[in-house]
């Protein structure tokens, strides 16, 4: 609640909060906001332009683009959240082990992290999807792997700082195991910057999901996703421009909203971040 109040008082945070709340509400209540199903094909309505019945027009199969944009928000938000949770879990595990244990654990974890970082995220995502096959969960795993080095490096640095603190030495001298020290002592004290990183990563993850879906590697038809809709719209951009405009606009708004919230959270939670003040 304290964080929500803070975000509302932060100028950028407030805009981000409004944008994201709108998108979440649209996604959650999508079935109430449209008379059509996301995959409902309306015969005779192929590539119709904007109208009262179809505010964003229809696609090749006569499906309402407005409806598919609403339902596409679910895919984007869920893919973003799931992949960041998975990526953060993997990266934080690697980073804290490396930072606290040092030695071989540090060398192995960080070289692994370097190897993952060596590939552009979209290329790595495409490679992982090529192995696992296309699909929603596979894409989330691919994005999680691509993002894990961000968390690993940050968690390692934080663990190294925290490991030198007196409370850690005290816990160790009282016989606490390494696992307990990492989980119960270091991790809670390193959470602030990691949460900021997670919030920043959600926006990137949503864009990556859209990118992979655009390439046909993401969510499979007929499930709507913004990236896939953008890819489909390319063929018909002359006939139904709204087909490309609205999923693209929705994608922009949600990423801007999340990034504004992340910036505001960084002002509050990241002790190393110097800000001009967003209030």
């Amino acid at each position: 609640m304290d964080m929500l109040t803070y975000l509302w008082r932060h100028r950028g945070g407030r805009v981000g909060l409004i944008l994201l709340t709108f998108v979440i509400l649209f996604a959650a209540f999508a079935p109430l906001l449209t008379p059509y199903g996301p995959n409902e094909q309306i015969r005779g309505a192929t590539l119709s332009g904007m109208s009262w019945a179809h505010p964003f027009g229809t696609d090749l199969l006569g499906r309402d683009i407005y409806t598919r944009t609403l339902f596409g928000a679910r895919v984007s938000l869920f893919a973003g959240a799931l992949s960041v949770v998975l990526g953060a879990f993997l990266g934080i595990f690697m980073g804290i082990m490396a930072g606290y244990l040092g030695g071989w654990a540090d060398a192995v974890m960080m070289r692994l992290s370097d190897a993952i970082s060596a590939f552009p995220a979209i290329l790595l995502g495409a490679a992982v999807v090529a192995i696992l096959g296309p699909g929603f969960v596979q894409v989330a795993i691919a994005i999680a792997i691509a993002q894990s080095p961000l968390f690993a490096r940050l968690a390692r640095a934080l663990a190294m700082i925290e490991a030198r603190q007196e409370y850690v030495e005290a816990a160790a001298s009282m016989g606490a195991s390494s696992g307990r020290i990492m989980l119960r002592h270091i991790l809670p004290n390193a959470m602030g910057p990691l949460v900021v990183q997670a919030s920043l990563s959600v926006g990137i993850a949503i864009l990556l999901e859209a990118g992979l879906s655009f390439l046909g590697l993401g969510v499979q038809p007929p499930t709507p996703s913004w990236g896939q809709m953008l890819a489909d719209s390319l063929r018909f951009i002359d006939i139904v421009p709204a087909y490309a405009i609205f999923p693209g606009l929705a994608l922009t708004l949600v990423v801007v909203g999340i990034n504004l919230i992340a910036d505001a959270m960084r002002d509050r939670l990241d002790p190393n971040h110097v800000t001009g003040g967003g209030k």
Partner: protein, 498 residues
């Protein structure tokens, strides 16, 4: 102010010229396609090979517009009275691109290559009807058949003559006798074919043909609009529509020799039930698919032939789209509803595969079948469909549509009686297919194919959907492109006007 307005006019004019598109002024025809041409093997017959085969290689005969065989490398031919022997006189003075003289030994070498299972020639099953090929002299070939072979000219349509000395490696080399010869081949990028000045039928007008691989169809169409490409084929009606209103472009259609189908794997328990297959057939909205893909040029197929085919039987061209009947068939099937099935598709091979799958999915959901779409890449599709045969339903397209029914029924994976891709086995079907393809007597053939049509519609192991129309757009200056009976482009007589 004046400078500014001039600048704007100049930019606008440049943009207009770029947008309007103009054909190449250098005598090079640039054809765009999204599929990658992996090698120069004419016997693989992948969609990417289609614009290459009739331009690099020649055939013994080729069908004209009336589907009558006309002489190419064979100047004349004669069947024995019993129809079991075909003697062909070969054209004299023909040379391969390397300069080597073409002889009957090359016809034999080409046949040996096709018949070797290791080479994976698509026409092998069909060519096996030729039980011996003799070469009494350099310009005579004698073929013997076990039974009369009325579809032999269909075989010749796809039997490209290659140089027997170099036929083992098609990765970069292609020594044919065709109107163009290979200048360079970069798979996934560009293949350039230069004019063969020594061509036996007179050198082509074009200096060269470039087959350009585009990353996707949108990029291809933009390149056509800007004049970077001169010809794009394999388009949908909606893609062609804007070009048909633009005087800078010519649009047209050609036969494609390809038709869409649904292959039903009979190893899947639910699909072994004829009523389930009937329900799927009744839920297939062929009319809508035809309109969506090819607009006014779209037609539907229940049987895999045109109405002018000798195998066409009007009484069995009886499919209908009726979801109530489909629901009733499913309820009578005794299966537990809803039935869960998967459909294999590959947007990478053809976007239409997936569109068909989505249309079918929506309709089947209304009658009690939950169809999930498995959209895989081209390699995955081939492995699942051809190698493992582990698909349940496949959105697929077959070739040889529109020619002699014996070619279609005996060689395509979905129709051939032996080793059918759906797992279908029926001695009566096999006997009728064989009977139709092994007699030259028209009435006997018609009778046999009538029985094939009856069994085919009764058993419904493959559901033909629509024949593909090869819609194409070219720059207005491009003329006289020829098309084979299979819809493969032929640039022998093509021109680019100034």
């Amino acid at each position: 102010m004046r400078i500014k307005s001039k600048l704007i006019s100049t930019i606008a004019a440049a943009a207009f010229l770029a947008a309007a598109g103009t054909a190449s002024a250098d005598g090079v025809l640039r054809l765009g396609q999204t599929a990658t041409l992996p090698n120069l093997n004419p016997f693989v017959l992948a969609p990417a090979s289609e614009p290459m085969v009739n331009n690099l290689y020649d055939t013994l005969t080729r069908y004209d517009a009336n589907m009558s065989p006309e002489p190419r490398l064979a100047e004349s031919w004669e069947f024995s009275d019993d129809g079991l022997t075909l003697t062909m006189k070969l054209r004299d003075g023909v040379t391969f691109h390397s300069g080597k003289a073409f002889t009957s030994a090359d016809v034999k070498a080409s046949m040996d290559y096709v018949l070797d299972p290791a080479n994976g020639a698509l026409i092998r099953g069909f060519a096996e009807r030729v039980i011996s090929l003799e070469t009494p002299d350099d310009h005579t070939v004698v073929m013997t058949f076990e039974e009369p072979f009325p579809g032999v000219f269909d075989l010749f349509e796809l039997f490209f003559i290659v140089d027997g000395d170099t036929a083992s490696d098609f990765s970069q080399t292609a020594n044919g006798t065709g109107p163009f010869k290979v200048a360079s081949h970069e798979p996934g990028t560009l293949t350039r074919l230069d004019r063969n000045d020594a061509y036996w039928n007179g050198a082509p007008s074009l200096d060269a043909v470039e087959i350009v691989t585009s990353p996707n169809q949108q990029a291809e169409l933009l390149a056509l609009k800007s004049g970077e490409l001169d010809l794009v084929t394999e388009l949908g009606w909606i893609d062609v529509l804007p070009f048909s209103r633009d005087e800078n472009f010519t649009t047209g259609s050609a036969p494609s020799g390809v038709a869409h189908d649904l292959s039903l794997n009979l190893k899947v328990p639910a699909l072994q039930n004829p009523l389930v297959r009937e329900a799927i057939d009744l839920s297939l909205d062929r009319e809508r698919i035809a309109q969506l893909f090819f607009g006014p040029e779209g037609t539907t197929w229940c049987l895999p032939y045109n109405p002018n085919s000798i195998a066409y039987v009007a009484e069995y061209d009886n499919c209908e789209y009726d979801l109530d009947k489909a629901r009733a068939a499913l309820e009578a099937s005794g299966e537990t509803l809803p039935i869960e099935l998967k459909i294999l598709t590959s947007t990478e091979i053809r976007t239409e595969y997936t569109t068909i799958a989505e249309i079918l999915q929506a309709d089947l959901a209304k009658v009690g079948i939950n169809l999930s779409i498995e959209n895989v890449d081209a390699v995955g599709y081939r492995s699942t469909y051809v190698d493992e045969r582990s698909y349940e339903i496949a959105s697929h397209a077959f070739g040889r549509a529109g020619k002699d029914p014996s070619a279609l029924l005996e060689t395509t994976v979905v129709f051939r009686p032996d080793g059918n891709i759906t797992g279908y086995e029926n001695p009566a079907y096999a006997a009728s297919v064989k009977a139709g393809g092994s007699t030259p007597v028209l009435e006997e053939r018609k009778a046999a194919y009538k029985e094939v049509a009856r069994i085919f519609r009764e058993d419904r192991f493959v559901l033909p959907i629509i024949p593909r129309v090869r819609l194409f757009v070219s720059q207005d200056e491009v003329n006289d492109i020829g098309w084979s009976a299979d819809g493969f482009a032929i640039f022998e007589k093509a021109t680019i006007s100034e």
